[in-house]
């Protein structure tokens, strides 16, 4: 699919690109001292749910210097058991306190009932791209947006498990996410690395011949009007006694294929806020800044050619 046509007279440049990094414990102090040129910082919402203490003070310092993007991992938007209202209240309190530029979580679940008790697996577990799951996800996203009184962003995940669903009740992932955005008015956070990881695993399972092409097809199917942010990260390949798999571990530099997909995504979606995520074996700050600079350079180049 061709790039979405630009509005007449539009000329997107690097000035309109926002590039941020995940701000993790290792860099709390250093980043405040060095204050590198970044357009926003992303933090995991749940790490700042406390009502006081050092972490919250650090976040408030960061907020005084950079816009903050709150990215959650525990809201369990796809849970058939519904949202945990305690969790939603903590998030609402944090949003009030921080006034973030964007607030997001994942199209996944972690919460449910076993042995008549509510539990939370503390992971981003996949939901089927089925009609029933879409209803649940829409209902929960509606509720979040009503409570937060703002547009929420929902991210596509890396999935290591596929549900057995009836084909007539099942959508492809982009159609599922587009419908979610259309019904709820939420925005989509497209994690480019997650798409690639899923495609690589599909290749391992014999379901995909060409991961890059499959990812570009995926991006082509996403409505550009729904997208509000892009994520970039590294992944790893594991081959042990259980077999081979690719894992979205956020533990290395963005690989060349994901940079290629990022170029494709910027060309398709235009200037999107872009985040460099790194959560495992967090490297020195200069490496993160270098990755952010690379994202900025690529986006600038694509947007210049595009305009």
């Amino acid at each position: 699919m061709a790039p979405v046509p630009l509005p007449q007279g539009a000329c997107f440049t690097a000035m309109t690109m926002q590039i941020g990094i995940g701000w993790r414990h290792r860099h709390y102090e250093q980043l405040m001292e060095e204050r590198p040129k970044l357009d926003f910082l992303e933090v995991h919402s749940e790490n700042f749910f406390a009502q006081g203490g050092a972490a919250l003070a650090v976040l408030e310092r960061g907020r005084s210097r950079y816009p903050i993007s709150l990215h959650g991992v525990g809201l369990s938007l796809g849970s058939a058991a519904g949202l945990d209202l305690w969790h939603l209240e903590q998030l609402a309190n944090l949003v009030d306190r921080v006034d973030p530029v964007r607030v997001s979580d994942h199209a996944s679940f972690g919460r449910g009932v076993i042995r008549n008790s509510l539990v939370h697996a503390a992971d981003l577990l996949p939901i089927p791209f089925a009609v029933g799951a879409l209803e649940v996800l829409c209902s929960n996203v509606h509720r979040v947006q009503e409570r937060l009184k703002r547009r929420f962003m929902v991210e596509n995940i890396s999935a290591y498990l596929q549900w057995k669903t009836s084909p007539e009740q099942t959508l492809c992932e982009p159609a599922f996410l587009n419908t979610l955005a259309q019904r709820t008015g939420c925005a989509l956070l497209v994690d480019v690395n997650n798409i690639y990881v899923n495609a690589l695993n599909a290749q391992l399972g014999g379901q995909c011949d060409d991961p890059l092409t499959a990812c570009k097809d995926w991006l082509d199917q996403i409505g550009s009007e729904n997208v509000s942010e892009l994520h970039l990260a590294g992944h790893c390949r594991v081959n042990d006694s259980y077999g081979e798999i690719v894992i979205d571990d956020h533990g290395s530099r963005v690989c060349p294929q994901v940079w290629e997909l990022y170029r494709y995504a910027i060309n398709r979606f235009g200037p999107m806020p872009t985040l460099i995520e790194w959560d495992t074996d967090v490297p020195t700050l200069d490496i993160l800044i270098d990755e952010a600079a690379r994202a900025r350079a690529i986006a600038e180049q694509v947007l210049t050619v595009r305009s």
Partner: protein, 265 residues
């Protein structure tokens, strides 16, 4: 139950129940793993859970981790993960029942002080994220001008006291601050004497020390909101003139305040 609820229940059971063979077998009716083999993907989630359990407990229970061998701590984290799975999406609030779990553990029963160590560590963990409180040192001048019948003391965030039949303060401080020495702690454990610890937050730093004689009574009384004078009467053993400067300096006392005037019936 909807299809989605059944699917989600099947995956959660496979991840959290232990032993998990039956639940994993049941999950195969609903889903298959991605990757080279069908079971490979499921193992990723299972490993994620176990790694997260270790990381979360290590953050909240660093002394317990030092006291147990690495293998025992990993085993403890996994067993606790399955016995008391998280109920919230904020993993930092998971771990509250570890004291009970350690108490019930036959494998750990030979170290009878471990439940008290776990209790103190969880109190320190909660203390770190307790709501902030303002320090108002100037308000302490009220103590020299006003009747202690109408004054209270503002105390630090996260303040709790824990009484133990074991030398709990020594056990904790030997691991957190390397004083007293482990030899001294071993000596104390041979003829254990009960100790009470005070836990509070000084600025952003959780602190722990041995309680002074009478201090627990004073702090307990002040926390109920009663006035300084009756609180001191409940703590006759405490030398208040010695205690107050130390308590202010270490952030345990943040100021003095007027108590609300009680309304008549």
């Amino acid at each position: 139950m909807t299809t989605l609820a059944r699917q989600q229940q099947a995956l959660l059971a496979a991840l959290l129940e232990w032993p998990s063979e039956r639940a994993v077998q049941n999950l195969s009716d609903f889903a298959y793993g991605v990757g080279a083999h069908a079971e490979r993907g499921f193992k990723v989630y299972q490993a994620n859970g176990h790694m997260l359990a270790e990381r979360a407990l290590r953050a909240a229970y660093p002394v317990l981790e030092q006291m147990l061998s690495k293998e025992s701590f990993v085993e403890l984290a996994r067993a606790y993960w399955h016995a008391y799975p998280p109920v919230r999406g904020d993993i930092s609030v998971w771990g509250a029942q570890l004291t009970d779990f350690v108490c019930q553990s036959a494998q750990l029963s030979h170290e009878a002080y471990l439940p008290d160590v776990a209790k103190a560590e969880w109190a320190l963990h909660l203390c770190a994220c307790a709501p902030d409180r303002e320090t108002d040192i100037a308000s302490l001048s009220l103590l020299t001008t006003e009747d202690p019948q109408i004054l209270g003391l503002a105390l630090a965030p996260g303040l709790v006291t824990i009484a133990s039949d074991w030398p709990l303060a020594s056990l904790m401080l030997a691991h957190l601050e390397y004083s007293p020495s482990f030899e001294e702690v071993a000596r104390q454990l041979r003829n254990p004497t009960p100790q009470v610890v005070v836990i509070w937050r000084s600025g952003f730093q959780p602190r722990l020390r041995l309680a002074m004689a009478g201090e627990v009574n004073l702090l307990g009384a002040l926390q109920t909101g009663i006035a300084l004078e009756p609180a001191l009467e409940a703590a006759a053993q405490l030398d208040f003139s010695h205690w107050l400067p130390m308590a202010v300096q270490t952030g345990l006392v943040l100021g003095a305040n007027y108590l609300p005037i009680p309304h008549g019936p």
